[in-house]
């Protein structure tokens, strides 16, 4: 579970060591009774074990914005 912000992409790690990039904005908002939509084929890519926001390097140019 991850707090989302605009422009954020997620890096999903599976138990097979695969790194999958996920763009949350590609998915619609759901209610709490929804189970969402399948984005990872667990048979071929493995079971997701960790999700972290993909780190975008912060440079001086970003700080000045």
């Amino acid at each position: 579970m991850m707090l989302l912000s605009s422009g954020m992409t997620l890096a999903v790690t599976t138990d097979q060591g695969q790194q999958i990039t996920l763009n949350p904005m590609d998915h619609p908002l759901s209610d709490r009774y929804s189970n969402g939509s399948f984005v990872i084929d667990t048979d071929t890519q493995g079971t997701p074990v960790a999700v972290v926001p993909q780190v975008t390097p912060t440079t001086d140019d970003d700080n000045q914005q």
Binding site: L10, H27, V39, I40, D41
Partner: protein, 425 residues
């Protein structure tokens, strides 16, 4: 320091060095006393002979006048008056002016003084207390002659001995990277720009947790999944090329084999206000002030405990930093079993660094906290939820109304009878 003691090079502390010096002084004093004793005894023997000779002066003169030469005079004195050879030699060498009454008195005074000296030297040789008194007196005399006032001040307690190393460090901008598996590095901007950002030097199964351009004087707080906080200033990180992996934290700080870096915070100053919010997988949460998590004297070799994990298998799920004066904050927590709970962060008390915290959510047996988030506007906050079956959904936090801490919460996934979805960490 290393010194030669008892003919062997040894590592000696202050006490051992002083003890060795005292042993040396005792040896010196005994040798000197033995020398002085022998000298005084020899002189006393001569003086005794001279006094005896003066008491029978007429017979002695007569014997000397009746002798053939000096050697014969000495032999006659030894034979007739039981003088020793040394005494006889002193008598025949005696100058005539020494025969005055004054000189006899002087010889008697000398004999008395020599007797005292002999007794004193014998005491020094045979009595350790007398010997130590001599050493004490001599050291005090040296102190009086050559001593100078202490320039330093001895205090009962040293308040805060801090060397400001920042004045020695050049303030320059560098790129910093900390990876999930614990590799840290700093690289020059030139090295960073020379390669593509993806060439970060990490293994395929590792990933950067933090990458930023920082000053070499910036303070980094690196939190791990086992509740430890590792403090470093940027200039203390290994200076490597951007395409190199960097230095592993376990090279300086002991990390558990399954311990990973969770999050990294950068501070320009450490005296600011604000608090960390730390939550664990076994359902505890706490706030700890930045001032409570200051680097210790041993920070380079030892991680600082940021939260006490009640369950050895538990991990820290997330760490947030809330600057002082921020708007009212809300917490949303999601569990592996699919429960979600929203409550105000004000319900979480501020506690010390070693505290375990308070209950975050009422977990069902075998359930654990997948993650939690802290934010300001619950109406606009959106979370992403990924399940072990590979499903992803976006959901507004407002789907779970704000209640209070330590409750069970609401289901945020539809529970399936077969292959139910579970939220991954």
């Amino acid at each position: 320091m290393v010194a030669i003691a008892h003919l062997q090079p040894q590592q000696l502390g202050l006490k051992a060095m002083l003890t060795a010096y005292l042993e040396h002084r005792r040896d010196v004093v005994v040798r000197r006393a033995k020398f002085d004793l022998a000298k005084a005894q020899t002189r006393a023997h001569i003086v005794e002979g001279l006094i005896k000779a003066l008491s029978i002066l007429d017979q002695v003169i007569k014997t000397i006048r009746g002798s053939k030469d000096k050697a014969d005079a000495k032999n006659n004195l030894v034979r007739e008056y039981d003088f020793t050879v040394a005494q006889a030699e002193a008598i025949v060498s005696l100058q005539l002016y020494r025969l005055t009454n004054t000189d006899v008195t002087a010889l008697q005074a000398e004999a008395a003084a020599l007797a005292k000296t002999i007794a004193r030297q014998q005491d020094i040789i045979s009595k350790p207390a007398v010997r130590d008194k001599v050493i004490t007196d001599e050291l005090q005399a040296i102190g009086k002659t050559y001593g100078s006032d202490r320039l330093t001040e001895i205090e009962a307690e040293v308040e805060n001995l801090q060397v400001d190393t920042t004045v020695l460090v050049a303030d320059e901008q560098v790129m910093v990277q900390v990876s999930r598996d614990g590799y840290v590095k700093r690289s020059s901007l030139r090295s960073y720009q020379a390669v593509s950002p993806d060439s970060n030097g990490l293994k395929d199964e590792d990933a950067p947790v933090y990458t930023a351009q920082l000053s070499t004087l910036t303070h980094l707080y690196i939190f791990t999944t086992k509740g430890n906080m590792i403090y470093r200033q940027v200039h203390e990180l290994a200076d490597t090329k951007w395409k190199d992996s960097g230095e592993h934290l376990s090279q300086t700080v002991g990390l558990a084999p399954d311990e990973q870096v969770l999050s990294v915070f950068a501070f320009d100053q450490l005296d600011g206000d604000g608090a960390f919010t730390i939550g664990t997988s076994d359902g505890y949460i706490k706030q700890t002030l930045l001032s409570e998590l200051q680097p210790t004297r041993t920070y380079k070799s030892k991680a600082i405990v940021a939260i006490k994990l009640k369950d050895a298998d538990a991990t820290v799920t997330n760490v947030y930093f809330n600057a002082a004066g921020a708007d009212a904050l809300t917490v949303f927590v999601a569990t592996y079993g699919g429960y979600g709970l929203t409550f105000a962060l004000d319900e979480v008390p501020v506690s010390g660094a070693r505290a375990a915290g308070v209950k975050l959510i009422n977990l069902k047996p075998a359930d654990h906290v997948a993650n939690f988030a802290v934010f300001t506007q619950p109406d606009n906050a959106v979370v992403g939820i990924l399940t072990q079956r590979g499903a992803f959904k976006r959901m507004r936090v407002s789907e779970v109304p704000v209640t209070s801490r330590a409750k069970r919460g609401l289901q945020i996934l539809r529970e399936l009878k077969k292959s139910p979805h579970r939220i991954v960490a």
